[in-house]
């Protein structure tokens, strides 16, 4: 199903995203005009997307970017087109959730995108996988749903740490996850199986 040349492909998009996130984490003055700030969205709407690469601390950036690198590489080596669709849908889902379903003035972190890639990967395993892969995907989806529910109830992150003074943005996780799920489902159901460019 997967072509050998596709497996050997360099995950350029993922590398670029991780490099951009790392650069913004190291240079806060570059991150400032890109960060998600509700008050600035009307004049600078791109902040709703670029803010997803801005992090509140080095530790925050490190964990987010490591997971983004791993999941992004997995997706990109399977299908760059599917990966780009998933990224776009996840980022759009996060932005929409933050703008329309949250009152947060500021938001940092790539975990919304990561949630999209995570749920997309889990759904892809369920829909297109077999045996253990399908079980793993289903378990991941259940655990993710439980994590979001716990975070919404407790108001604090589960299995993760946030920069001081920030609350967990459950809306971003849910928005990203919905974007990722829809995109992954479309990829599988419309016949754009991994491996297709």
């Amino acid at each position: 199903m997967e072509r050998p040349e596709a497996r050997a492909r360099w995950p350029l998009v993922t590398l670029a995203l991780v490099a951009a996130g790392a650069l913004l984490a190291c240079r806060p003055e570059l991150a400032r005009p890109l960060a998600f700030e509700r008050a600035a969205l009307r004049a600078e709407p791109w902040r709703a997307l670029t803010g997803q690469l801005v992090h509140g601390s080095a530790q925050h950036a490190a964990l987010d970017l490591v997971v983004l690198a791993l999941l992004g590489t997995w997706w990109e080596r399977r299908s760059r087109a599917a990966y780009l669709a998933l990224l776009a849908a996840s980022a759009a889902g996060v932005a929409a959730a933050l703008v329309f379903f949250s009152t947060l003035e500021r938001y940092t972190g790539s975990s919304g995108i990561v949630a999209g890639l995570f749920v997309g990967a889990a759904l892809e395993l369920v829909l297109a996988g077999r045996g253990a892969g399908r079980g793993l995907g289903a378990a991941a989806l259940v655990l993710f749903a439980a994590k979001c529910a716990l975070e919404a109830r407790a108001g604090t992150p589960v299995f993760a740490a946030l920069p001081p003074g920030t609350e967990v943005a459950v809306a971003a996780h849910v928005g990203g996850a919905l974007g990722g799920a829809l995109s992954a489902a479309a990829v599988v159901l419309l016949g754009r199986r991994p491996g297709a460019r």
Partner: protein
């Protein structure tokens, strides 16, 4: 005549050996509820998160008695001082300990000059308008320093002994308390205290310096102990808040809402990392199998 002389010398010796005590204190009650001010019962509390908190020492100063004479190292010349610099340092420590607390937007140290002695809630309302505070944490304190002479102090009669022999025994007791008030409702949300006891000995000539040093150490230790207690009190308050009252039945009702304006973040965690590692490992195994 001889009897009178002996009695006078005995009295003088007794005076010289009296245990001097100095005390300085500042109380939250004297500040918020001065004499003559009407007592207004607290109303129901509505906390709109995130909160802006001010932290300040209640105005106060030296009180109590002070004795001193040559034989006790001129303690009379020692005036207990709790400088604004020391207060600022301690307030910064308290603020740092609670920086990043969930639901707290900022913790601001209120300059001492903004607080009027016996200012009451009228003064606190001014602070609220001036600094945009929701809550105020007021630190009150009481520090008492005792001094005794041990047997070695007999060498002070040689004058040389006053320079080299530690005949003075000091003891410093410090009590610090923080009370956190919701300004609009006047309600005390929670409070916590810390105490310390510091002791030491000194020569007659070093006594004043030693007492000052012990005073600082006493405040440092008491504030450290108080911070631990305050964190516990905050956790207990959070739990209590779920019941909808400030401190149980009969106390003001408490409503907590979350307003916009906060900072949020999404953090990928162990769950996402675990699945990503599993997928990566699966890919690697699949590649090895294909090879």
């Amino acid at each position: 005549m001889l009897k009178l002389l002996v009695a006078s010398l005995s009295l003088l010796a007794l005076c010289a050996c009296s245990a001097p005590t100095v005390q300085h204190r500042a109380g939250v009650l004297e500040y918020l509820y001065p004499e003559g001010a009407p007592t207004v019962p607290p109303s129901d509390v509505h906390l709109a998160l995130p909160l802006r908190v001010g932290v300040a020492f209640a105005p106060g100063g030296p009180s109590g008695e002070s004795y001193g004479n040559y034989w006790t190292g001129e303690l009379g010349a020692y005036s207990p001082s709790f400088s604004e610099g020391d207060k600022q340092r301690l307030l910064e420590r308290v603020a740092a300990a609670f920086q990043g607390t969930e639901g707290v937007q900022s913790i601001q140290i209120v300059p001492a000059s903004y607080l009027q002695p016996r200012g009451g809630f009228a003064n606190v309302d001014q602070l609220r308008s001036l600094l945009g505070l929701d809550l105020i944490a007021i630190l009150s304190y009481e520090q008492t320093q005792f001094q005794d002479l041990n047997r070695a102090s007999l060498t002070y009669w040689t004058v040389v002994g006053a320079y080299f022999v530690e005949g003075n025994e000091n003891e410093t007791h410090t009590f610090v308390d923080t009370s956190v008030f919701d300004i609009p409702s006047r309600a005390l949300l929670f409070n916590a205290a810390g105490r310390s006891k510091v002791g030491g000995s000194a020569t007659a000539l070093e006594t004043a310096g030693e007492l000052r040093s012990e005073s600082r150490d006493g405040f440092d230790q008491a504030v450290d102990a108080m911070i631990v207690q305050l964190q516990g009190a905050l956790a207990a308050f959070r739990e209590q808040a779920k019941a909808g009252t400030v401190r149980g039945a009969g106390t003001p009702k408490l409503e907590v809402t979350r307003e916009g304006g906060g900072s949020g973040a999404g953090a990928a965690g162990a769950l996402e990392l675990a699945l990503a590692l599993l997928l990566t490992a699966g890919c690697a195994l699949g590649r090895r199998g294909a090879a």
